[in-house]
């Protein structure tokens, strides 16, 4: 498996660590409702098909990435930077390039 890091280019999966579901949003700091936090920490969809995941390029640029990966085919269709560079996306060319 390879991930096209927008910062570093296509790299082997061993350089990354999985960071969990990229669709959940942490409740705002001011939210003290336990249920909202329980949902954020524990409740996950288990979709069949495209899914946004977080990956941390821990052995590279150390940026956090939002990776859209198909849970059925494992195909990665988009990789974007999270955080202050959000929107910067990798060009996904042919597999293995």
């Amino acid at each position: 498996m390879r991930i096209h890091c927008p910062c570093c280019g296509p790299r082997g999966v061993a350089e990354f660590s999985y960071g969990g579901d990229g669709t959940v949003r942490r409740p705002d700091l001011s939210v003290t409702d336990t249920d909202a936090h329980v949902a954020y920490v524990f409740e996950r969809e288990n979709p069949r098909g495209p899914h946004v995941e977080l990956w941390h390029h821990i052995g590279g640029c150390r940026h956090w990435l939002r990776v859209t990966r198909d849970t059925l085919t494992h195909e990665i269709t988009s990789v974007e930077m999270a955080g202050r560079f959000a929107g910067e996306a990798a060009r996904i060319s042919g597999a293995g390039a």
Partner: protein, 996 residues
């Protein structure tokens, strides 16, 4: 009489180089180019192993990776390797091999009694016979079953060989160098692409050697060599002896190259095997097909072999697999094989075919050679146990599937079987493509590609040679287009073929012959799964292929479905009244063939398993007698052991010195993170449970971080160096995790915060000077700087100079004594350390290690990873007061959940041994006399300050139990120690010693 060496022929054989080898200790001889299997067959050896479950006598059944019977223990001593395929083992001088799964000898095997007891060993027998009758039966039988299970024996000696791992990048990876793969590689190379051609055999060429044809007037071997030269000259990399075993996501493939397995031992500095991770833009799967066995009574007798294997042994190794051969096939390939073998000088008694007629040209050719042809007939049974003695040929109605009258019962010592061909779809299936059933082939072919691959040749169901060559050329061009090369490579012509025989390899749909005489009919030879087991699985409801596989273990282990998969599916389809495509096939998983652990480990063994990190004072510690211990990747001194001292003596001496005078400890391994930015204070305020936004510049503060679920994550200190800059320390173990944690919040959760974090763990060396005389020593060492109580109060930070090096000092205490952490540039660590040691000499400064550090912190009830074990909260360890109520922070809301505020929750307590005995870490706490566990012990020590054995523990409701007598039980050692519960802070509870 059985197999023998033909007087001529053998494309792989060098008859001028005889090689001596031993099988089961018996001296034998073969030639260079032989496989172990071909050399055994040439020596007349029929029986080579015992089967997995029933210990039935077995002989060689194949000529390649499909071999399911001839699995041997190869080599001996540290290099002994079990379950090695004799057909894939190249012969070398001095080879030693032994048969497996037999006792006392191959010929007389006591465990063959299993065959007679076979009703006990049907599918699922573990559960029915041994477990179903109750726990006691299973426990009694387990050791016998475990002993009887398995095939070969490995070795417990360390592997003496080297293994390597490497990565390769290419435009086109061609898997398989048969006719299709060679043409594909030629086309891709001609298009100017970077090509890797991998083939698992010693000599590329695949079945081209066996076809008896000429290509452009050249013998196959010559044409193959020409093609390989052309590929190499065009820059292609050819990897023989390389099994591509796995197709992973993103067109990454795994392969193992058997670099030196064909030698007695690897040359100096040569790896035994090399693991390749191949990143390919496009893959051509030219993996070929494997001939299918037919299922009939006694189809596992030694001497029954795939027809293609009989042919390959003759053409490649000049071996006649029998003196008297019968061929049984459901396609024209059987007759063709008989003709070719007869032309090579072998005696073929008959060709048996269930169809009413075969290709007329082939029938005539058989007649011309005096080979009897029995159509409308099948081999219904075999005779002979340790070697084939003959077969029973019966009439067969191809429409009704009913057996007819006896036709003949010829004697023979080899039966060559062909049930058609099974394309090797493994890699395509691994890559997510569900195999599709092909009616003409009566087998599965790769389905729609989900990764960038193209199939070619027999793998895609093309069985004729001309078709394979053309398909290979096409696939090479397709791969070139996929890599952006549009030029058609017309200059690569297809070779002109001569000498091909008529007929079709497409089979008549016969998979099995009705049972006769109660003899077993094997579907999976490697795991001893019979046709009856498939029926039984269906009757008992395990009728989906995935259940069938797991219930019967069919297609597992060495076979991986190569010879068993399609027959099993056909039998299950018939049992359920479905078609084979309705039953479907399992998804193949890697590996295609077995991969040694050594190849996966590569050089990452022993000392190279993980990097070793050393502090700048490492050599000093070692020179002073320190026993070093691993702390994660770091090496840290455990204790400095003086001559004549035990470890216990040493740490007691060291810890006592810290309490009485002064000690120094290397803390360079603590994680250090430079947190900078206008929002740094706010950021730490959100991560730590305590308040950090208002921490004054020049002060440090102890802090604990929680996980989002409210459990403690890590603790450390944060030093405010400027309004916008903090130095954060973490535990040694969590340095990486805390950095990743911070990066997550900064990028994913709060990207608006203007903060940047950088690991500076190995930017600064650190040492802690602790003890009543710490200030005196430090001040004496300081060339510049003031650590007086006024200049450097508790938790204060000052700068100074020691040994000419700038240092930063924070007054922090882990030991409970007056203490300072001194940080300097990493390379200056040793100089500063030595200066402090020198300055401390008049005060008797004592370097101390991890054991003393542990003792000191246990005496103070301070927590480490043993208490922050991923289950505990701030309140559990008595730090509830550090949970700010004035601000939200990560985990703050979640700690309000009911289980976290349960009064019965285990909380941190101290224990003192009442009978003078040591308490064992991991002990459970019970009431005196026993009972249910009330908690567990996390850390233990002999406390020199208290003169007692003490411990830290988590105890249910422990805050209200101080003073209570309990027992610390350690049942594994049958120990019970009487203890008294105390406050976890044993020593100086008001902290007066560090506030001086």
């Amino acid at each position: 009489m059985s197999g023998y060496r033909l007087p001529h022929g053998g494309s792989h054989l060098d008859r001028s180089r005889p090689l001596a080898f031993r099988f089961d200790g018996e001296p034998m001889q073969g030639f260079a180019g032989d496989t172990l299997a071909s050399a055994l067959l040439a020596s007349g050896r029929v029986l080579v192993g015992r089967s997995f479950k029933y210990h039935r006598p077995r002989g060689v059944m194949g000529a390649g990776p499909e071999e399911a019977n001839a699995l041997v223990e190869l080599r001996n001593g540290a290099r002994q390797e079990p379950n090695t395929r004799a057909t894939m083992t190249e012969l070398y001088g001095g080879l030693e091999a032994a048969s497996q799964n037999r006792w006392p000898s191959l010929s007389f095997d006591m465990m063959a009694v299993n065959d007679l007891l076979s009703p006990l060993f049907s599918a699922g027998f573990y559960y029915k016979t041994f477990m179903g009758t109750g726990q006691a039966t299973w426990h009694f039988c387990e050791r016998f079953i475990r002993k009887a299970a398995g095939l070969g024996r490995g070795t417990h000696l360390a592997d003496p060989d080297r293994y390597e791992k490497t990565n390769a990048f290419c435009d086109v990876l061609v898997v398989g160098a048969g006719p299709a793969g060679l043409m594909a590689a030629r086309a891709a190379v001609a298009a100017g692409l970077r090509v890797i051609l991998a083939d698992e055999n010693a000599r590329p060429g695949g079945r081209l050697f066996d076809e008896g044809v000429q290509l452009d007037g050249l013998a196959p071997a010559e044409w193959i060599d020409g093609a390989l030269r052309e590929i190499a000259a065009g820059g292609g990399r050819i990897l023989p002896r390389t099994s591509v075993y796995g197709y992973f996501d993103g067109n990454v493939l795994g392969a193992v190259e058997r670099v030196a397995d064909h030698k007695r031992k690897p040359a100096p500095f040569e790896p035994r095997q090399r693991h390749w991770t191949i990143h390919a833009r496009h893959v051509v799967l030219a993996t070929g097909a494997i001939e299918r066995p037919l299922v009939f009574s006694g189809n596992d007798a030694p001497g029954v072999m795939l027809a293609s294997a009989g042919l390959a042994h003759a053409t490649r190794y000049g071996v006649a697999v029998g003196a008297s051969v019968v061929v049984f096939a459901n396609n024209d390939g059987g007759a063709r094989t008989a003709i070719r073998l007869a032309d090579l000088g072998m005696s073929i008694k008959a060709v048996v075919d269930p169809r009413r007629e075969i290709d007329p040209a082939l029938a005539a050719a058989l007649g011309a050679r005096g080979i009897r042809l029995e159509t409308g007939a099948v081999v219904a049974a075999t005779r002979g146990r340790k070697s084939l003695a003959g077969v029973d040929i019966r009439g067969f109605d191809p429409v009704s599937g009913v057996l007819g009258a006896n036709v003949m019962q010829p004697g023979c010592d080899a039966l060559l079987v062909s049930g058609g061909w099974t394309p090797s779809v493994h890699l395509a299936s691994q890559a997510g493509s569900a195999p599709v059933f092909d009616e003409a082939l009566q087998s599965f072919v790769p389905g729609t590609a989900r990764e960038a691959w193209t199939t070619a040749g027999a793998c895609a169901g093309t069985l004729d040679l001309a078709g394979c060559l053309a398909a290979g050329l096409d696939a090479g061009r397709t791969a070139a287009r996929a890599c952006g090369k549009t030029a058609e490579n017309g200059e690569i012509p297809l070779p002109e073929l001569s000498g091909t025989l008529a007929g079709t390899d497409l089979p008549f749909p016969l998979f099995d012959v009705p049972a006769t005489g109660g003899a077993k009919r094997f579907v999976d030879f490697q795991h001893d799964v019979t046709a009856d087991d498939v029926d039984l699985a269906n009757r008992e409801g395990f009728c989906s292929v995935e259940h069938l596989k797991r219930y019967t273990t069919l297609g597992m282990a060495a076979d991986q479905g190569k010879t068993s998969n399609v027959n099993a599916i056909a039998l299950m389809a018939r049992a359920r009244g479905l078609t084979a495509p309705q039953v479907g096939t399992t998804r193949f998983r890697m590996p295609w063939t077995a991969v040694t652990i050594g190849a996966l480990a590569g050089r990452e063994t022993g000392h190279h398993f993980a990097p070793v990190r050393r502090t700048p004072m490492h050599d000093w510690h070692v020179a002073k007698g320190a026993e070093m211990m691993a702390a994660g990747l770091w090496m840290r001194p455990r204790a400095y052991i003086a001559p004549g001292e035990s470890l216990r003596d040493a740490y007691i001496r060291e810890a006592s010195a810290v309490r009485q005078r002064v000690g120094i400890v290397d803390v360079s391994t603590l994680g250090k993170i430079d947190v900078q930015g206008p929002d740094a204070g706010e950021f730490l305020n959100r991560l730590y449970t305590g308040g950090f936004a208002k921490l004054p510049v020049g002060k440090a503060r102890y802090g604990v971080m929680l996980r989002e679920d409210g459990i403690m994550f890590d603790d450390g200190t944060a030093w405010r160096l400027t309004p916008n800059r903090f130095l954060v320390t973490t535990t040694t173990a969590n340095a990486g995790a805390v950095l990743a944690h911070m990066e997550h919040y900064l990028e994913v959760v709060w990207p608006d915060l203007r903060v940047h974090v950088t690991s500076v763990t190995d930017r600064f060396a650190g040492m802690a000077v602790a003890g009543p005389e710490a200030r005196k020593v430090l001040q004496a060492a300081l060339e510049e700087g003031d650590v007086s109580p006024e200049a450097c109060p508790h938790m204060g930070i000052v700068r100074g100079r020691i040994a000419g090096e700038p240092v930063m000092i924070a007054r922090l205490s882990f030991s409970g004594e007056l203490a300072y952490e001194v940080y300097c540039d990493w390379p200056a660590g040793l100089a500063v350390w030595e200066a402090l040691i020198e300055a401390g000499k008049p005060n008797g400064i004592m370097p101390y290690g991890m054991e003393a550090l542990g003792t000191l912190r246990i005496e103070k009830g301070h927590i480490t990873g043993a208490e922050m074990d991923g289950r505990t909260t701030l309140a559990d360890v008595g730090l509830g007061g550090m949970a700010s109520r004035k601000k939200p922070y990560v985990g703050s809301t979640m700690t309000q959940r009911p289980a976290f505020v349960d009064p019965e929750r285990p909380v941190l307590v101290g224990l003192v041994s009442r009978d003078g005995r040591a308490i064992r870490a991991g002990s459970h706490l019970t009431l005196p006399g026993g009972g249910a566990s009330l908690g567990h012990v996390t850390a233990v020590t002999w406390s020199p300050a208290l003169g007692a054995n003490i411990a830290l523990a988590f105890l249910s409701g422990g805050r209200d139990r101080h003073g209570e007598p309990l027992e610390a039980a350690f049942p594994l050692k049958n120990e019970r120690v009487a203890v008294t519960v105390t406050d976890p802070c044993f020593y100086d509870p008001d902290g007066s010693r560090m506030h001086v």
